[in-house]
């Protein structure tokens, strides 16, 4: 009968309202999850964490798997400052050329794979010859008002993969973690690994 139908409507409306409020609040409070933003559509979010799952095109399609898994290079070889500075550091073009002077674009056939011409290495050498730095696109970004000292985390034994994901498996790097505050705190209070628990006072990160 009609009256009962009415009953269903009222709480439904309340529920809808509440959901709307929460969603809008999250929208403001955290980064937009699960949105892949390509370079073209992206913005200079100085104040919000970069969105999870973002995987922009890079000027050079650098294959982490080849270097890390196949060649067994250490993260710190290129990101040389991660254990001694707040900034992890980017490899200088000269660092790349250290090997790629020898390893040119012409890749010989190797265990099953036919020989081929590597466009990426050509690009790299082009940058080097033009004495231009490579304009990599930033992926992981925490807001400017957050101080994230890489060295303290690395020295505390937090693996790169904890925050950056299995980069050694990513043919194109994407943002693995949400990088929002709750995510940080959750680890700082020791929920992820009791050994990693750290000070969770606001002024440790925000100043």
């Amino acid at each position: 009968m009609t009256v009962r139908r009415k009953w269903a409507v009222i709480p439904g409306l309340f529920a809808l309202g509440a959901v709307a409020v929460l969603l809008s609040a999250y929208q403001g409070a955290t980064s937009r999850p699960d949105t892949i933003i390509t370079e073209k559509g992206s913005w200079g979010y100085s104040a919000a964490s970069s969105p999870q799952g973002r995987s922009p095109e890079q000027p050079i399609h650098f294959p982490h798997p080849t270097h890390v898994q196949t060649l067994g290079m250490n993260c710190l070889y290129c990101h040389y400052a991660a254990n001694k500075s707040t900034d992890p550091g980017l490899p200088a073009v000269s660092t790349c050329m250290g090997c790629h002077l020898v390893i040119g674009p012409k890749r010989p056939a190797m265990n099953g794979r036919p020989a081929f011409e590597s466009a990426e290495i050509t690009k790299l050498q082009k940058y080097w010859n033009e004495k231009k730095p490579i304009p990599w696109v930033r992926i992981h970004h925490v807001p400017d008002y957050v101080n994230f000292p890489h060295m303290t985390h690395v020295n505390a034994g937090v693996t790169c993969q904890t925050c950056h994901g299995q980069v050694q498996k990513m043919t194109q790097v994407y943002q693995y973690a949400s990088l929002n505050m709750g995510w940080c705190i959750n680890c700082h209070v020791g929920n992820v690994n009791p050994a990693w628990k750290a000070r969770y006072d606001c002024s440790v990160c925000h100043y």
Binding site: S46, A48, A81, R138, P143, N155
Partner: protein
């Protein structure tokens, strides 16, 4: 809801964008508005740098002639802060405001981007090849035409190798030695010193003296080597009971005068008579001449005779100042001060070899006569620093070819035909010799910001380009030349670079004969007018070279607390008689011209005198200087003290009229009286022995126990955590528990400020601007698009919106009726109260009490209710009324390249958030990280805040009050310690003030 408008502005990470050190390409990206964030790697990895970790390059400050040692804090290819070099014997780690602001000269948005050539009437950009080719050609002409003999090179006075190198270069081109110009130098005193002691500037030992008498010598401001003098003066005052009494004699009570225990107001021009009287001459005649009561002079005379050792100083800038300086030197000899307080054996050598004002004037006259075919100017701005009556512009017009090496479009370079912009000192190589056997080295902290070249290199290139001289210039550039001629050679040089100091002495150019025939200024009494005019160099802007640096413009004058403006100081009593109030526009008139400026009614000026500060009123020199304030030089006659060749700044009387206008003073002062609220306290020296450590009284019933817990901890905060009293079982202490694994609550960061040392110089304020990315808000361009005061310089400050996290309050005590008054300076900053009133009212935890005792402000959490500021009794919270940190806003405080100075460790605040002193939390955390990485605790006094580091009085001490090892913990126990407002409000501040100690005139003298 988007977060894009959180406190962001220019981020730390703009630095990541521009990692590639300084190459033009990356610089462009650094400033691009490209919405995609780029990570630009180095092309080739520089070996000694780690991104995100600062390097410190020892160098030398070139803002004034003295040559203090500085450390250039450099990260990711950007030098962003200057700090005093602790190993430097001259300034021992301290640095004045002007020195700190030097970095704003480096990134100044109005610098010349490259060489300029005057084409059909106006300066137009050119390439270096063009410019050098033109220069070479003109040099050739000058040589061949023989005009070279009359060429003039006016150089900024500096010590070290460059003057000699320059003279040699000039000689090679057949040109006379250069003129080394310093508009601030007290030529009379220098000449007198050379005559009496054979050195230009003996170092002065204030701490050895028992009585200091300064006759107009502003040794804390621009008189001589201010920083070392201030260091020693503060040490002297810190001796409390044994500290010297300080008497200041002069028509105007300057900042130095405000630090005196007694001020004797005399008429300008009567200083000589007083000096003679003190030396035992006739007191009565001096009294008549100066308007000082004879009793006062007698008492002084007696006291001076009785107290040994003493120190008498003269700084005068009128006719007959040489005589005065000589008389004072004589007096010192006669009192036996030479060798004890006047140390002629350790002179400040950097003040040697300065050309007198008369020399410069003579050169200008030669130009006017058309005898000068070729003029080169570097680092100085005679068109501004010389009075308008000297008509420098006309004289320059007579010179066929004028070259400027200036980095900025100043009044002089605007008149030149060719501009070869020089590197900023932070980009240049060089050296200085501030003291015997001390060579202070100067090295660049970074690659050039713009397409400029160091003048020395330019000269070498020119010489190479010229077939006659090419052979003699083999060094590929000036740095190599320096190294080759460095005492001890390459090894000594490289070793010296580590600390910035080398030993040995550098050949000085031969002293040039002082020019004669400078027009003698008439005695000031003779001039007509009803008020004496005293023109003094601004302590903040110096000779005006500081005017294009917003930090210095925004830094209130230490005495009047006025900024972004020019004002006329007039005596309180006189003003009352004439019905003049602060802000009423006055007009002063001389034969040379007139000047209209608001009055500042001041107790500290002789009643027949008006005073105007020099340094403002530029007609060029960039957005921060142009059209701000007025230039008192416009009303001055061209007159000199012929004997010394020093320009007579205090040379004339003026007609004073009150114009029927009102211009509000751009001041940071609210009320100059304490109303008995005990903010700045002082104690007479004789009461010092009876002084007890501040005891909290419990006389009032119900008054809580206000004593601190050990380590300056707040009773209430501790109670909140259930540490004392009955701890409620359910209270969750969290990190506030001293036993908590985070160990945070073990520390209590605190600060002591010794008012006996503090001179009010305000270096700490600028240091804070530099360290904490404080925006300057007063520039005219920042006042457009606001709802008020459109385009008025300092408009925001008229609205009380200055953003100085630490401010220097200057209170007057007494003197309402024109009698004696005591100025008191007190630096006021966030007190980091243990029981902070601002915290409980914040609805979002944006401010709260951290376990290690900080009153934290979380910018990104702040929603801007401003309740905290209402509730802060100290009023030390500052709000971002506009988007000072947002490049898109017209009020943006760091226009292009200025933003490179931002400290990467500190968030740049966006609009709508509250901010305040953080006790340099970034330095605390940085030290903790360093300690953690090295697996140790933070060492006592391992680091300090920016203000404490810069303070040239060593008045500020910062550290962990909970750990006895830190010196702050000991200082906090001092008997002079007190806390502002703690008795009334129970706030438990972490900033402990130590009372100032005054030294009244001895009873006997007072009785006389």
């Amino acid at each position: 809801m988007t977060e894009n408008s959180a406190p962001s502005g220019v981020g730390r990470r703009e630095f990541l964008k521009i990692l590639g050190a300084g190459s033009a390409a990356t610089a462009a990206i650094g400033c691009s508005s490209d919405r995609v964030e780029r990570l630009i790697p180095y092309l080739t990895q520089p070996d000694e740098t780690v991104p995100g970790v600062s390097n410190y390059y020892a160098s030398t400050c070139r803002e004034c002639s003295v040559g203090c040692g500085v450390l250039l804090e450099t990260r990711d290819g950007r030098t962003f802060k200057l700090e005093g070099n602790p190993d430097h014997p001259l300034n021992r780690g301290a640095l004045c405001a002007r020195g700190q602001a030097s970095v704003q000269g480096l990134y100044n948005p109005d610098r010349y981007r490259g060489p300029m050539i005057r084409k059909n009437g106006k300066l137009t950009p050119a390439t270096w090849t063009e410019a050098l080719q033109l220069m070479g050609q003109k040099l050739g002409e000058a040589q061949s035409s023989g005009g070279a003999g009359n060429a003039v090179f006016i150089n900024k006075h500096e010590s070290g190798s460059f003057p000699a190198f320059l003279d040699r270069w000039l000689a090679d081109f057949g040109m006379p030695a250069h003129l080394s110009y310093d508009a601030l130098a007290d030529h009379a005193v220098i000449a007198a010193n050379r005559q009496s002691y054979g050195v230009a500037w003996p170092s002065l030992s204030f701490s050895a003296a028992k009585l200091i008498v300064s006759i107009g010598a502003d040794f804390l401001e621009t008189w001589g080597a201010s920083v070392p003098q201030q260091l020693d003066f503060a040490d002297a005052r810190a001796k409390l009971e044994d500290a010297p009494r300080f008497v200041y004699i002069g028509p105007r009570r300057s900042l130095t005068g405000c630090n005196a225990d007694q001020w004797v107001a005399c008429k300008p021009g009567s200083e000589l008579a007083i000096a003679r009287a003190l030396a035992g001459g006739s007191v009565q005649s001096a009294a008549d001449a100066s308007g000082v009561p004879a009793a006062t002079l007698e008492a002084l005379q007696r006291e001076l005779g009785a107290t040994k050792p003493s120190l008498v100083l003269a700084g005068s800038s009128g006719a007959g100042s040489m005589e005065l300086a000589l008389a004072v030197n004589e007096l010192n000899k006669q009192l036996g001060n030479v060798g004890t307080t006047v140390l002629t054996d350790q002179p400040i050598t950097s003040l040697e070899g300065i050309a007198t004002d008369a020399d410069i004037n003579a050169a200008v006259e030669k130009m006017r006569a058309g005898q000068v075919p070729f003029l080169m100017v570097r680092g100085v701005n005679p068109a501004f620093t010389m009075p308008r009556a000297a008509k420098v512009a006309d004289a320059l017009a007579k010179v066929p070819f004028k070259v400027s090496f200036s980095s900025y479009p100043d009044e002089t370079s605007e008149l030149c035909d060719l501009v070869l912009p020089d590197h900023h000192p932070i980009e240049s190589w060089g050296d200085a010799q501030p003291m015997n056997d001390v060579i202070s080295l100067q090295q660049p902290g970074m690659d050039p910001v713009y397409d400029t070249r160091q003048t020395a290199d330019v000269l070498i290139d020119l010489a190479k380009g010229n077939q006659r001289t090419a052979a003699r210039y083999t060094a590929q550039n000036y740095m190599r030349w320096l190294i080759d001629n460095f005492p001890g050679g390459t090894t000594a040089f490289t070793a010296g670079l580590q600390k910035g100091i080398g030993s040995g002495s550098i050949a000085r150019p031969a002293a040039r004969p002082a020019s004669t025939g400078a027009p003698q200024a008439p005695a000031i009494e003779g001039t007509n007018g009803d008020f004496y005019l005293v023109v003094y160099p601004s302590p903040t802007l110096g000779d005006g070279s500081g005017a294009n640096k917003p930090w210095l413009q925004e830094l209130p004058d230490p005495v009047t607390k006025i900024c972004w403006q020019t004002w006329i100081e007039i005596n309180q009593q006189t003003a009352r008689k004439l019905g003049i109030d602060s802000g009423d526009v006055l007009q002063i008139k001389t034969e040379q011209g007139e000047l209209k400026a608001p009055a500042y009614v001041y107790m500290g000026i002789q009643e027949n005198t008006v005073a105007v500060a020099f340094g403002q009123g530029h007609s060029a020199y960039g957005r921060y200087a142009m059209g701000v304030g007025l230039n008192p030089g416009d009303v001055l006659p061209v007159g000199f003290d012929a004997a010394s060749g020093s320009f007579a700044w205090t040379a004339t009387k003026v007609q004073l009229t009150k114009v029927n206008e009102f211009t509000p003073l751009v001041t940071t002062e609210g009320s100059a009286r304490q109303h008995g609220r005990g903010i700045a306290r002082s104690v007479p020296v004789e009461e010092l022995p009876h002084l007890e450590m501040e005891q909290e009284e419990h006389d009032m019933p119900g008054k809580p126990d206000q004593s601190y817990l050990p380590g300056l901890r707040s009773r209430m905060a501790a109670d909140a955590m259930g540490e004392i009293g009955d701890s409620p079982s359910r209270v969750q202490k969290g990190m506030y528990d001293p036993e908590h694994w985070s160990q945070m609550a073990k520390r209590r960061w605190a600060m002591t400020i010794d008012l006996a040392r503090c001179t009010g110089c305000s270096a700490c304020v600028t240091a804070c601007y530099a360290e904490n990315n404080l925006p300057t808000v007063g520039a005219p361009y920042q006042m457009v698009h606001t709802a008020f005061l459109h385009g008025v310089p300092g408009g925001n400050i008229l609205k009380g919106r200055e953003m100085n996290w630490i401010r220097l309050e200057r209170y007057w005590e007494g003197g309402e009726d024109g009698g004696e008054f005591e100025p008191r300076f007190v630096p006021m900053l966030c007190q980091h109260c243990g029981n902070a009133p601002c915290e409980p009212v914040c609805p979002v935890y944006a401010t709260y009490h951290s376990p290690d005792g900080l009153n934290v402000q979380v910018y990104n959490r702040c929603v801007g209710t401003r309740y905290c500021s209402n509730n802060c009794p100290y009023k030390v919270r500052y709000f971002n009324w506009f988007g000072y940190g947002e490049p898109a806003r017209p009020q943006y405080a760091w226009p292009e390249r200025m933003s490179w100075q931002l400290n990467p460790d500190v968030t740049v605040r966006g609009k709508g958030v509250m901010e305040k002193c953080t006790f340099c939390v970034q330095r605390i955390r940085e030290a903790e990280h360093r300690a953690k990485a090295e697996g140790r605790e933070v060492r006592p006094n391992e680091f300090t805040t920016s203000c404490a580091q810069a303070c040239p009085s060593r008045a500020i001490i910062f550290g962990d009050a909970a750990d006895e090892e830190w010196s702050v913990a000991r200082m906090a126990q001092d008997r002079r310690a007190y806390h502002v407002f703690h008795e009334q409000l129970n706030t438990y501040p972490a900033v402990v003030y130590l009372q100032k100690v005054t030294h009244p005139a001895p009873k006997a003298a007072a009785g006389a």
